[in-house]
Structure formats: C-alpha cells, structure tokens
C-alpha cells in the first residue's frame, strides 16, 4: 500500500530522514514508532506530498506521490497531532470545506462519518467551542470523507484525556476491522502502539532501526524479573554464568536459550543473594523499543 524507497530528507544541516526504505502492506494497522524528532512526521509529510524528499521515491498504491500526487492521494485520509480548523465556522461547514478541495460534498456520507465519530450533536456548533478531543474526532471525520483506503494518523492520541485515548483506539480498531482500512499509525506513545499494532517500524535519528512484527521477534525466549539485595552484582553474575543474555531496566532480563527460571533461582541462592522477587514477565513494546534504541546507541558509540 505504501512504499518508501531509499528516501532521504535534509533540513539545512540536519538529516531528518536517512535512506529509509519501508513497505506497508494493505489491510493492517502499521505502527510508526520513534521519539519526537525521529523522522516520523517528515516521513508522513513525504507520503502526503507536503515534504519533498532529497532522494528516493515515495508511492501509495503503486502511484508515485511526487509524479501524480492527486491520483496517489485520491483514496487517502490523514489527521495530524494538532488538527487545525476554521474556528469561526461550524464543524459541518469545516467538513464540507475540506472535502470540497478535492471532491463534491456528499451530505449522506457526511452524516455517516459524523455519526461514526460521535459528533452528531455538536456538528452545527462553531469549532471554536470544541474541545481538543472533539477537534480530533472532526479531523478523523474529514479524513474519512473521501472513502479512503489508507488512513494516515500522525500522533492522533496526543493531548487527549484517557477516555479520549480509549475512544480513539476503539475507533481505529473499528475502522480497520469493519471498514477494512489500512492504517498507518504514528506515535511515540508506546502503550497505544502496543495495543494497536503488531507490524511496526522503529525510527531513530532519521534512520529505520526495525521493520516487522515485534511480537514474533524473540517469541521463543523467556523474560524474567530478578530482584535481589545486590542487584548489579547479580545481573553481572547471571550474565557471566550464561543464564541471562541481557538485562534491561528494573531487573528485567532475557533468559539464555537453554536456561530456565529454576536454574536462575538455584544460582542466585547458591551465590548467597537474598532473592526478593523472581518471576517470568511478558515482554512489552517498551522493552522491545528501548532495546532497539539502546543497541543502536551502543553500536554508534
């Protein structure tokens, strides 16, 4: 559905995107993960034809965005971190106005998307009276107006309250499952990406560090949490004994392929450590992400 091929973008001396190649398959929710300034928004800007790459090609559904932008974006909807509207106009008028930049306004479709995002009671109010969450929902409605096949969401949960984040997440899942939309979900909120995406790309300092299914990576390996009296000594010892491959934050470690939890417990007791906690843990996206970034930084050093 989406293809970035050896794309590079520089803003002055800063390399914002560095030789990134990425393919997003049709039909799923694909996560784009990275710190602020990692290059996510620039990549999305290039996908929408708003930022011209210095090198490489960008295409959507096989159409080169910079050769035929209108055709490439014909079935694309997008929303941004802080959606902007004409505050002095009503939500409905805004919807109509943005839609009519590219196609005639279909009132029936308008009512359908307004209902889907739950704005039917406020759609005739001026946008100036909307909360951030309502603006975000209006932005989603305008993105859905052209019956898109691809929805690009750039930090859609940013600034929302917990209830709003929950609603947005459910809406995204619904759009993917019921409407069959391919969704590119860019965020630095790890918990959101974890709940929505299996397939993802991790960007860091303009580079692509990982592309694929993060859940499948190391799926056969077990993670444990170790808490003892002399934590640093224990981590060093377990790694030296070949029982644990690596330790991350908070005593979380990945067991060696042949090691088991009882073996770790026996070793700790045998070495005289006072064990406070030792239990298997599920690996989160945060673990995966931090490991990916740290490995990268270690290699760089």
């Amino acid at each position: 559905m989406i293809s970035l091929d050896a794309v590079t973008k520089r803003f002055g001396a800063r390399l914002a995107v560095d030789n990134v190649s990425l393919t997003v398959p049709r039909g799923g929710i694909f996560g784009l993960l990275g710190h602020n300034g990692a290059g996510k928004s620039t990549s999305i800007g290039m996908l929408l034809g708003q930022v011209a790459p210095d090198a490489g090609t960008v295409s959507i559904a096989g159409v080169d965005v910079f050769a035929d932008r209108q055709r490439a974006l014909a079935k694309v909807g997008a929303i941004f971190e802080t959606p902007a509207f004409y505050d002095y106009l009503t939500g409905w008028r805004n919807l109509r106005l943005f839609c009519e930049y590219s196609a005639p306004f279909d009132a029936e479709r308008g009512r359908e998307v307004v209902k889907l995002v739950g704005l039917e009671k406020r759609i005739i109010d001026r946008v100036a009276t909307y909360s951030h969450g309502m603006r975000q929902r209006l932005a989603l409605a305008q993105a859905l107006m052209p019956k898109p096949e691809l929805l690009i969401l750039d930090e859609p949960s940013e600034g929302l309250d917990p209830e709003g984040i929950h609603e947005m997440r459910n809406l995204i899942l619904r759009l993917n499952r019921e409407w069959g939309l391919t969704i590119l979900f860019s965020s630095h909120l790890l918990s959101e990406v974890q709940q929505l995406c299996s397939e993802l790309a991790v960007m860091h300092e303009g580079k692509l560090l990982f592309v694929g299914n993060w859940r499948e990576l190391d799926a056969d390996r077990q993670w444990v949490r170790v808490q003892v009296d002399r934590q640093a000594d224990a981590e060093r010892g377990l790694t030296g004994a070949g029982l644990v491959d690596l330790f991350e934050y908070d005593g979380r470690g990945r067991l060696a392929p042949t090691a088991t939890v009882p073996q770790v417990a026996s070793w700790l007791v045998a070495q005289g450590f006072a064990v406070q906690a030792l239990h298997p843990v599920e690996r989160t996206l945060e673990d995966f992400y931090l490991e990916t970034i740290h490995v990268r930084d270690a290699v760089k050093k």
Binding site: T82, Y86, F98, P104, P146
Partner: protein, 280 residues
C-alpha cells in the same frame, strides 16, 4: 469544482471576524474624515480654492466632492494597510494556523489552490474598494442632502476639474472601479510575500515597506525621469480618470504595467509556494 472552491475561499474571507472589524474600521475612519472636513479651517481652504477660481463653493461642497475626499484620505490612511493585511494573511496565516497542512493532505494541486486563493483575495480587495466608494458617497450625500457637483483637484497629476452632477457621478463610479483594479497590485505583492516562508505580519510589513519606499523614491526629484517605473505612479492612474480629457492610453499603459507586475508577483509567489515543504 473551481467555482465551489472559490465560493469556499470567499466564505472563509468574508466570515472572519477580522473582515467585519475591518469594514467597520473603514466606516469609522470615513466618518472621522467627514467630521474633520467640517472643521472651519478645512472648509475655508476649500472655499478659497474654489472662489479664487471663480466657482461657487456651495455647489461643490456636497456629496460627490466630499465622497471623493473621503476616499482619498481613507485610502491614504487605511486602504493600503488593510489590503496588505488581507493579502499577507491569505496564505501565511493558513500555514501558521495549520489549516494549510490539512488542506494539502487532500489531493488538490498547489497551483490550483493558490489560484483559487488569489482570485478570492482579488475579489475581496475589489469589493472593499467598491464598499469604500459607495459608503464614502453615501456619507457625503447624506450629510449634505444631495450629490451636488464634483470638484477634483490633484496637483501631482495636474488635475483641476469640475463636473456636473450627472457627469460627476459617472466619473466617480469609473474612478472607483479603476481604483478597485489598481489595488490588486497591493494584493499581489502581499500575496507573493505570503507564499514565502514567513509570518503573516512579516508579509504585510514587507508589502507596506515596498510601497513606502516606492512612494518616497518617486517623490525625490532625482528620480523624476524614472516616474514610470514606480508602482505609485501607475496606481495613481485612477485619479487621472478625472482629467477633463482623459488620457486613456496612459491609463491603459499603467493598467498593463500593473497587470504585468502583478502576474510577476504571482508567478514568484507560486514558485516559492510550490517549492516549499509543509511540516508541523
């Protein structure tokens, strides 16, 4: 679709609170100027000018003449500023507010978007000048209970003319129309700056700076032989429509010059806009 998009752009321009405040400000300034023209010193200077040339002040101190005086002073005080403000805002403000990025996520070509915006902006500033012409005439006419005859004195253009009511009304309407056309150069200049990577206020200030420098240079005797290169010389062609024998070739030359300059500004602005990256 083009007509719909143009209608939407006009709606955006005319529905803004700033538009209403702007038009309101023009009315207030017009009334203030009308009040100032009632000051004894102003009245005396006006009477002296007419009587010394053998005309009866009472016949000319009426709606048409007052309307024209109000236009001249309002344009000098507010006209350029407001048109530059609107032109400077039209693209840069949308970029600043983030709505431009929302628009550009839709499959519309940048050139088409710019064309729609430019035409909307041109219609807006033209409408403003017509509004100014009508309200100035209304203010003068209501105050003096009639149109009266038209007296025009523009020393810089060597114009000293008097017209009957009918001829005066025709001349007045024609001049306001030409004024609406020549104002487009300010719109185009501000629009060009607005397309570049700068804040809306910077686009407005740059536009006013260019116009100010143009005006100052034009009035320095050293540049007298270069008159025809200055924007202010050509924008003054609206006043030349009041000459007893109108030099239409000179007016046409000015309009063509301004048209070519406006087109150049548009092309430069469009090139800057199309080459820009839009990012949050």
């Amino acid at each position: 679709m083009f007509a719909t998009q143009l209608k939407n752009e006009l709606l955006k321009l005319f529905a803004r609170k700033r538009t209403h405040i702007g038009f309101g400000a023009f009315l207030v300034v017009q009334l203030l100027i009308l009040a100032m023209l009632q000051l004894p010193k102003a009245k005396r200077a006006f009477s002296d000018l007419l009587t010394s040339n053998g005309y009866l002040p009472a016949e000319y101190y009426a709606g048409l003449t007052l309307g024209l005086l109000i236009i001249v002073f309002t344009i000098s005080l507010l006209g350029g500023l407001y048109v530059a403000l609107v032109g400077g805002d039209v693209v840069a403000k949308e970029v600043e507010d983030g709505t431009m990025r929302m628009i550009l996520s839709r499959p519309i070509s940048r050139l088409r978007l710019l064309t729609v915006k430019w035409i909307a902006c041109a219609i807006y500033s033209f409408t403003l000048m017509i509004f100014l012409g009508v309200t100035s005439l209304l203010a003068g006419t209501i105050y003096r209970h009639g149109f009266g005859k038209l007296f025009v004195f523009v020393p810089q253009e060597s114009i000293f003319s008097v017209f009957s009511t009918g001829e005066g009304l025709w001349r007045y309407a024609r001049a306001v129309l030409v004024l609406g056309v020549v104002t487009q150069i300010i719109t185009a200049l501000a629009f060009m700056f607005s397309c570049c990577k700068m804040k809306p206020a910077a686009a407005t200030i740059l536009t006013l700076s260019v116009l100010f420098v143009d005006f100052v240079l034009r009035n320095i005797p050293y540049f007298a032989s270069f008159q025809k290169y200055f924007i202010s010389y050509h924008t003054a062609c609206w006043a030349r429509t009041f000459a007893d024998v109108v030099a239409w070739s000179s007016i046409a030359e000015s309009l063509v010059y301004l048209g070519a300059l406006g087109a150049t500004f548009w092309i430069v602005g469009a090139m800057a806009f199309c080459a820009r990256d839009f990012k949050s």
